[in-house]
Amino acid sequence: MKYVAGIDIGSTQAKGIIMDEHSEIVGKAILDMETNMGTAAQRVFERVLANANLSYSDIAFTVATGYGRYRVTFGDLQVTEISCHARGALAEFPNTRTVLDIGGQDTKAIRIGDSGEVTDFAMNDKCAAGTGRFLGAASFALEMPLSDLGPLALKSTRPVKITTTCTVFAETEIIGHLAKGHLPEDVLMGMHHSIATRCASLVRRVGMAPDVTFSGGVSRNVAMVALLEDVLGTPLNVSSQSQFMGAIGAGLYALDNLQAAKRSQTAYATGSK
């Protein structure tokens, strides 16, 4: 049995998956990013190998994705997270035609054609408002873990409108609202709404078509899912493995290359060193 690896070096977390020739996932690992991307890539690779009970020599092909993909020195090919997230979403939800991925400081809207090809994409530029960082600011200001934000926000009955467009200044605004006596859940729901409207405009920019798959770490936030479904007016596919969607897509590209090598054909996806 041959195995392939997909390594996703993102801005806030490094993810790794290992899959076998039948695209079954046999190992997963996730850890927080550190300043040295190369070291983080190496660590997550070792972690996922341990999780799969495999060694370096068992991995026939590795595809790296994410901003840190060029720092994955042991990778065979780099593919952007645009293509990888599209591929990962399609693998779990074959009717996906639009992907919304909200990561730590990056939000992407990806449009997929009927043959599974990416036809268009849009990303946030110059500003991390509307990304997981916005929720990170809320977590810091409210002194509560990220995982608690969604359930608490859903308890809101009178959401507060968050007016700032800046993630950095959002902290000040949250503290200001709390000082005025607004409830944390109402402030939180306002923050979630702010993210949802910003992300919805990205989705509309590429043209939304069903099914819409929501991926990335922020998709684990139940309030975000509910709000986006409301703002976009469509149910969303959310995977239990949404954080790994990029790594899964990278693994599938690795599998393509493995299969192509078997047939002595050239590599499938464009990539560069």
């Binding site: 645009i82 293509s83 036809t119 268009d120 994409f121 110059k126 560069s272």
Partner: protein
């Protein structure tokens, strides 16, 4: 660099007006800003010789006369009409050659990258505009590029995708921006920058009538501005034609902070070519000259993803 004696700007570019204001403050340089009427609405027809065109041209001609008087005052020299005619004759020849050079890139492979070596060609066209040296350069350039076409020599050894660039360069990262595309075998066969930043005369076969130098200067300037730059808001049909002429595989839009005139139209233009023509497009942002707006990782990420889109499309089309 010597201190400027006069700064001449026009209503076509708010940034140049700001630069002129800065020189005014720093060097006491007098500023002269031409008001050149633009297109007033989407279906505006800038027909040469039409009553509207001639009315606009007379408005511009009046300002040129004022400018002449101002320059005579500053330099102490009299304006010589024959000298203007001579300069215009040189410009005519340079533009004739420029039109050909732009068209050479319709060949496969494209002999030059319109947003790299093409910028150098245009730089000389502008800096030596109207001079005999400029004419000589354009003739040599024409010969050189024609030779490359004849030998099938491309800008890149493996031209994989032919692209159109809409917008200005990022001058502080001029080469880097284009390299990000060339490493994937992507060449910019055409760009609107080489039209509007070169005066716009090439976009409609405009040449000076040297028997009426000043009137013709006003008439051509008015038309070239309306068709070459003001046109930016309504340029989608011209772009659709360019997509065919240059066998484009994709269009890259470069939105910048420094020029709203150029950047404002891009979102709508992109929507048009994507939805009506199914053309893959990429939108990236930085700036003409402000290095603070350049984000290498963000731009590289988008460019890499764009080429993955092009490759996937090419694979589906069996290319």
């Amino acid at each position: 660099m010597p201190k400027p004696d006069i700064a001449i700007a026009s209503s076509l570019c708010n940034v140049y007006i700001k630069w002129a204001e800065i020189w005014e403050r720093q060097f006491n340089t007098p500023a002269f800003v031409l008001d050149i009427p633009g297109k007033r609405f989407a279906a505006w027809k800038s027909a040469a010789g039409s009553p509207q065109h001639l009315s606009d041209a007379r408005w511009v001609e009046g300002q040129f006369r004022d400018l002449i008087a101002r320059c005579e005052q500053i330099t102490g020299k009299k304006f010589v009409m024959d000298r203007l005619a001579e300069v215009e004759e040189h410009v005519n020849e340079m533009i004739r050659l420029w039109v050909d050079i732009l068209a050479f890139n319709q060949n496969r492979p494209a002999p030059y990258n319109s947003m790299l070596d093409g910028l150098t060609y245009m730089g000389v066209l502008n800096a030596w505009r109207g001079t005999s040296e400029g004419v000589e350069y354009m003739r040599l350039l024409h010969e050189e590029v024609a030779g490359k076409v004849a030998r099938g020599e491309g800008r890149v050894s493996d031209e994989r995708f032919r692209l159109i660039f809409s917008g200005t360069p990022c001058y502080v990262n001029m080469r880097r921006l284009i390299e990000l595309f060339e490493i994937h075998g992507g060449v910019f066969a055409a760009s609107d920058y080489l039209t509007y930043a070169a005066g716009g005369l090439d976009c409609a076969g405009l040449f000076y009538d040297t028997s009426r130098p000043l009137e013709s200067l006003a008439e051509v300037t008015t038309l070239a501005s309306q068709m070459g730059l003001s046109n930016h808001f309504f340029s989608h049909h011209a772009l659709a034609q360019q997509m065919k002429d240059f066998s484009a595989d994709g269009i890259v839009y470069h939105g910048i902070k420094s020029c709203r005139t150029v950047a404002t139209s891009m979102a709508d233009n992109r929507e048009y070519v994507t939805t009506r023509h199914g053309m893959p497009t990429l939108y990236i942002e930085s700036d003409l000259i402000d290095p603070r707006y350049w984000s290498d990782a963000q731009i590289k990420n988008r460019v890499d993803a764009f080429f993955e889109v092009l490759e996937q499309r090419a694979r589906l089309e069996g290319r």
